[in-house]
Symmetry: C2
């Protein structure tokens, strides 16, 4: 027992995180490891996604997959290995479109499968991992191998492909807001930031807790470029051979980085209830064996009731660890709601609910054990909403519409600048050089008010978001 | 319309399969392609799992994953890339245990994560793909890359590891019987067939439609071999450093091959309702536009009712294809139940249900549209049971207990032989040479009656299953 306590003591001190405001970057790195979301793999720049991180990814997968299937998409799996000849072929595309390796296999298959208009649309999504060279890596944000989904669709007309591209962008935005409690700005990329081979690239952009932007999902209208590179053609109803119009869209484990950086605090993660592997954790509190028996019995009963009501709940029955240690431990892991139950609660028929988004006394309330599942469900809904509102308020507080280029420079030091932009890549480049901010997107929602480019002063019809980015 | 009919005609003729009894192997190869379960990838020996095949695999994944999680397992993801030094280290293991690449990364991580008895057991499962060299390949059965799950667990004692190994074997057997309608024989492998590095390998063995055996899942008790190779140790309650006891277990897309070969017939696939991507397909039948309007309206209403009741249902609304073409097409794809609805059915308030496991008039029945969901659910249960019973009866009819080695040789020409075996690898080798049959497993269920080895005549205490195998 003495040894157990010593171990517990050692662990608590290990759990101290650097402060988020003092060193955001180091806070992030340590949090990922200490919450056991991921670990460094023995190959530089690769990661092991640990069970807790993978459970979070599985919930993200389900939330997206449900939406993909509801809009008619199906999943498939393409092989890891591609012929050497494909890699060599890539370099010589007359269209100037040099697709990543996986896309050459997909192009090859679609050219074979698609013969007539009857075979369209093809609406395939893949859940897999990709390996890409990266010089500087960070867990979830930038690794040599990352996990994602990639959708690849083929259509008979430009209009259908564009509608698909926009539909998937909307799905990403809805998932981010509804499930991840992250407000995002859906918009168009500039030509410079566009995916090679795309006629149009759209993205959702989110503001992290340090005011920087993170591109959290992309959707590309590939026009006929991809179809021409791979000879993906179909016989139309009139018997004429036509090139297909294709799209691709993806969201990756990078999104986990966004969840961490948008919601987390100095105590650790804060997970949105809809995606949290555990939505609630029961912590039994007792001193004597007699107290333990009564508390554990009640804790198990309540756990059963919560689980039966569909709450993802766990109970921390670890021996030899103090309640305080357990509180810290689950706060680090971001479980949205803690259910404390001690001997007094057993006697009174109550429990204490402690909200992760509002640590300390303020977020605590004593509620009846009767109808606990209902109270928990309501509080989880409340936390989900509160996290979204807080993230939105933070983004609004850190988004400025600068009146001058000097104000613009100041704005992108701490957040987003939304400014008229002439659309020229020269201004885009100069802004990047002078401020380190990149053109994140031209929001789909525009006031329509004309103005003058923040950099060159020429007339401009659209506003764009500029920010430093991950 | 004329062109559409011509296309349909061409497709029907394409759909003719070789007969299962005449050329089982070619029947299998063509069926996989024509049911659009998988396709050959441009790299020799690799496969693309097409959406219909992947939907089947997703249902297999869910059926297994539910069982894994109910027994305390969690999923994670390990990287594709491993350091070159690991590959070199593999060759020099003093224990003589040369693990596959993925296991070196897992060993490395477990050695880091596991410190004390508090960290045990570790119950991790991975859903991923593996690349292995194969000379002769066949879709699903043997490909360079295949999809699977691999469980890797670490325990404090031998007893716990053995209990885990057996538990996972039981889970595989239960999944095969309950969800895939495939009766399997759970048993121990011989030393020769054991996984390198395992103290004990268990497998489930199933009989295919040609009488050959297929190993459909394996579970290994690795003893302390794996832990010693990677220095996976823990401090026990007394503060002493101990090696862990580990297990591993896997089931792959090979299992799809088993489903095809156990249940399929000359018309194509027959999928067990619990795993079928579509459990029922509605085929509307009409001639005039007036009939079409009435039939389609009713078909859509019924589709909605079935879907609301949890039936995985689709409706074949393709234009320009005859009902006969559609019947063949869905039979090829193995949808367990077809719901036919024509103008007379609309008038009478009935539909015709046609069972895939009993093609032709015999399997057809007219039922009321009222309460259709209940009737469909009952019939799907009936099909699930019938498929299992049929597979079991087939296996029993083709399993012999030969009285002599001559009878043994005849038995393994067409099915399984169950015979006393001395346990010697010499007899095992000779049997393989002389009959092409391998020792599949020593069934866990034994009568306990002693006897004499079928090959050498020496006393033997256990019976083993011998068969030619995939």
């Amino acid at each position: 027992m003495a040894q157990e306590k010593a171990t517990a003591g050692a662990r608590i001190s290990e759990l101290k995180l650097p402060s988020r405001s003092e060193d955001f970057s180091e806070w992030y790195n340590q949090l990922v490891l200490r919450a056991e979301l991921a670990d460094y793999a023995p190959v530089r720049g690769c990661m092991i996604v640990r069970p807790y991180g993978w459970a979070l990814w599985e919930n993200i997968q389900q939330a997206l997959d449900r939406r993909f299937k509801a809009t008619g998409h199906v999943n498939a799996a393409f092989p890891l290995l591609i012929p050497r000849s494909f890699i060599e072929k890539e370099k010589s595309h007359v269209t100037g479109f040099s697709p990543p390796p996986m896309e050459t296999i997909i192009g090859h298959a679609y050219a074979k499968w698609i013969q007539s208009y009857r075979d369209l649309p093809v609406l395939i999504n893949l859940w897999n991992s990709v390996v890409r060279w990266e010089l500087r890596t960070r867990l979830f944000l930038r690794t040599l191998e990352f996990f994602w989904q990639e959708g690849h669709t083929a259509h008979a007309t430009f209009e259908e492909a564009e509608a698909e591209t926009r539909q998937m962008l909307e799905i990403y935005a809805d998932f981010a807001a509804t499930d991840a409690a992250i407000p995002v700005i859906p918009g168009r990329k500039s030509e410079a930031e566009r995916f090679a081979g795309a006629d149009q690239t759209y993205s959702i952009e989110a503001m992290m807790g340090d005011g920087k932007a993170l591109q959290a999902g992309t959707s590309h209208n590939l026009g006929q470029n991809f179809a021409k590179a791979f000879e993906i053609r179909y016989l139309d109803k009139e018997g004429k051979l036509q090139y297909c119009w294709t799209t691709s869209w993806g969201l990756s484990t990078r999104f986990i980085g966004a969840i961490i950086m948008v919601h987390g605090d100095d105590q650790g993660l804060i997970l949105p209830p809809r995606l949290a592997p555990f939505q609630a954790v029961i912590v039994p509190i007792f001193k004597s064996d007699e107290e333990k028996a009564a508390v554990m019995e009640r804790a198990r009963k309540l756990r059963g009731e919560l689980a039966a009501a569909g709450v993802r709940v766990t109970s921390d029955e670890r021996e030899g660890l103090s309640p305080g240690y357990k509180f810290n431990d689950w706060e680090m892991r971001g479980v949205p709601l803690r259910v404390e139950i001690g001997p007094k609660d057993v006697a009174k028929g109550t429990v204490v609910l402690a909200r992760r988004d509002n640590p300390g006394r303020e977020g605590k309330s004593s509620v009846s054990q009767d109808g606990l599942a209902g109270a928990v469900a309501r509080m989880l809904d409340g936390i989900q909403t509160a996290l979204y509102q807080r993230a939105l308020a933070f983004r609004e507080a850190n988004t400025r519409e600068p009146a001058s280029y000097a104000e613009f420079k100041a704005a992108v030091e701490t957040g987003f600048a939304i400014s008229h932009w002439c659309g020229g890549s020269k201004c885009e480049e100069q802004i990047k050089e002078e401020t380190k901010a990149t053109m994140r997107c031209i929001p789909l929602e525009q006031s329509g008010q004309p103005g003058r480019c923040i950099r060159c002063g020429e007339p401009a019809t659209e506003k764009a978001i500029f920010a430093r980015a991950y």
